[in-house]
């Protein structure tokens, strides 16, 4: 049961609901499982609910880690060794 997609919270609604957006696609989903979500946040959407919020700083850190390996591949043209 792992089909989950990262989506952007576009607009908060009543009753713990929100409109989320993904490349122009919009859906109303429930925020009942996550507190403190703000417009502009990214959440993981699964079967109509936000399961958790995505941390943008951690995401950047993870991508930087990948880039490190790619940097080594290109002969050290990347960020850190």
């Amino acid at each position: 049961m792992c089909l989950a997609v990262p989506v952007r919270v576009e607009r908060l609604l009543d009753n713990e609901m929100a409109v989320v957006e993904m490349d122009g696609l919009r859906k109303e989903i429930s925020l009942a499982l996550v507190d403190g979500v703000r417009e502009g946040d990214y959440v993981i959407l699964h079967v109509g609910y936000a399961l958790s919020r995505l941390d943008p700083e951690e995401a950047e850190r993870t991508l930087a880690l990948f880039a490190e390996f790619a940097g080594r591949l290109d002969g050290g043209g990347g960020t850190q060794p």
Binding site: S30, V34, L63
Partner: protein, 386 residues
């Protein structure tokens, strides 16, 4: 797409493939099991196998909740729809799973039963509100990602005072599945099945956190890396596991830091414990009966429990004699080792559930990877060498 495309970048993939190739020792093999149906699917769909060295083997564990759902429980759901005349709401994946006598929910629907596909438990609630004269049963299945949504729906049903809504609860627990594998006879006897590391599920972990896996590392000395959903996450996690294995470490590491922490989603956990409780035992297809491995609705919410409202006798049903789903789920055999694979058993005509759900090991291999079975004599050149 944000948080998606960046994590599928081919250049970064080559970098990681190179790093893994450099990290593996040539004098041994690495057997890594993943427990998340989403990982099974991502690995197959993006063709990650081709980016790994030949001595790294990926085993598809029981991460697909449709695959571990016993036939008897599907029979019960069909009976609810046919004999009790309820509106049976179900996730799409379950509709085609073959039950006893080649029946399925989809076939029951074709024969006139009111079976409806829903995307969310909230849709089932809405159907109950719109049809006050009919009983509505939500066929609740899944691991801990899908369990909180069921709990929310049941709570909302109580708050709304709905009299015609119940859930048929078949939620199962991931740590129990992992333990079931680690305790399986083939693993405990040295030589039958090798398992060196576990790729931990992504979205289940956002709910339960990383703490529940610590027993795996401590009691079984098995390294675990919780992997994100995208193919780069999976490759990075494989790298981290190989690093641990080489160093002789057995820890729980978290690659999916952008969504997972040690505690998990406490609000979701609280909602689950408010509505649900542990079953002492539950039969898993392929793994047998596992203790404290599944959930049922507790007494406080008894009015929303389909098993209390309707008489649903449970009959354990064995798999087809030739079906090897059980051992395939445990990583003992590969899909092509099963006599029925690709001949009698295909996605069009599935004999066992590993073939029905596109996350099942057999369906994934059949749909995305069976061309490799014909090429074992002449291996396909790896992308990393291109």
């Amino acid at each position: 797409m944000k948080y998606v495309d960046e994590f599928r970048d081919a250049t970064l993939a080559r970098g990681l493939a190179q790093a893994i190739a450099a990290k593996v020792r040539c004098d041994r093999d690495y057997h890594l099991m993943e427990f998340c149906g989403g990982h099974t699917h991502a690995i197959s769909r993006h063709g990650i196998h081709d980016l790994l060295p030949p001595n790294v083997h990926l085993i598809h564990g029981p991460g697909c909740p449709v695959c571990v759902l016993p036939i008897g429980r599907i029979d019960s759901a069909i009976a609810l729809a046919q004999e009790h005349d309820v509106i049976l709401c179900s996730y799409g994946d379950v509709l085609r799973v073959p039950a006893s006598e080649r029946r399925s929910l989809l076939k029951a629907k074709a024969a006139g039963a009111d079976v409806r596909m829903v995307y969310s438990s909230l849709d089932a609630l809405r159907i109950a509100q719109e049809n006050p004269d009919r009983e509505v049963v939500f066929f609740a299945i899944g691991f801990e990602t899908t369990t909180p949504p069921t709990a929310v729906a049941i709570r909302q049903a109580k708050a709304m005072g709905l009299k015609n809504f119940t859930a048929f609860c078949n939620h199962v627990l991931t740590p129990a599945a992992i333990q079931g594998i680690l305790e399986s006879p083939e693993l405990r006897q040295v030589g039958t099945v090798r398992l060196d590391g576990i790729i931990g599920p992504s979205h289940v972990s956002t709910v339960i956190g990383s703490r529940p896996y610590e027993f795996v590392a401590e009691q079984y000395q098995m390294p675990v890396v919780i992997a994100g959903f995208e193919p780069l996450d999976v490759m990075q996690s494989i790298f981290m596991l190989i690093r641990q294995i080489n160093a002789g470490r057995a820890e729980v590491e978290n690659e999916f830091t952008r969504a997972v922490d040690r505690d998990g989603n406490l609000k979701a956990q609280a909602l689950m414990s408010e509505v649900l409780e542990l079953r002492p035992a539950y039969e898993w297809r392929g793994l047998g009966v596992l203790p404290y491995s599944a959930l049922r609705i507790n007494a406080a919410y008894a009015d929303f429990d389909a098993e209390r409202r309707f008489s649903i006798p449970y009959r354990a049903v064995a798999d087809h004699k030739g079906c090897e789903c059980g051992v395939i789920l445990r990583g003992v055999k590969k899909p092509r080792d099963c006599r029925l694979f690709g001949t009698v058993c295909t996605p069009e005509n599935p004999m066992g559930s590993c073939m029905v759900s596109s996350e099942g090991a057999c369906a994934a291999h059949y749909t995305y990877g069976r061309y490799r079975d014909y090429r074992d004599a002449a291996p396909t050149p790896k992308a990393v060498n291109d």
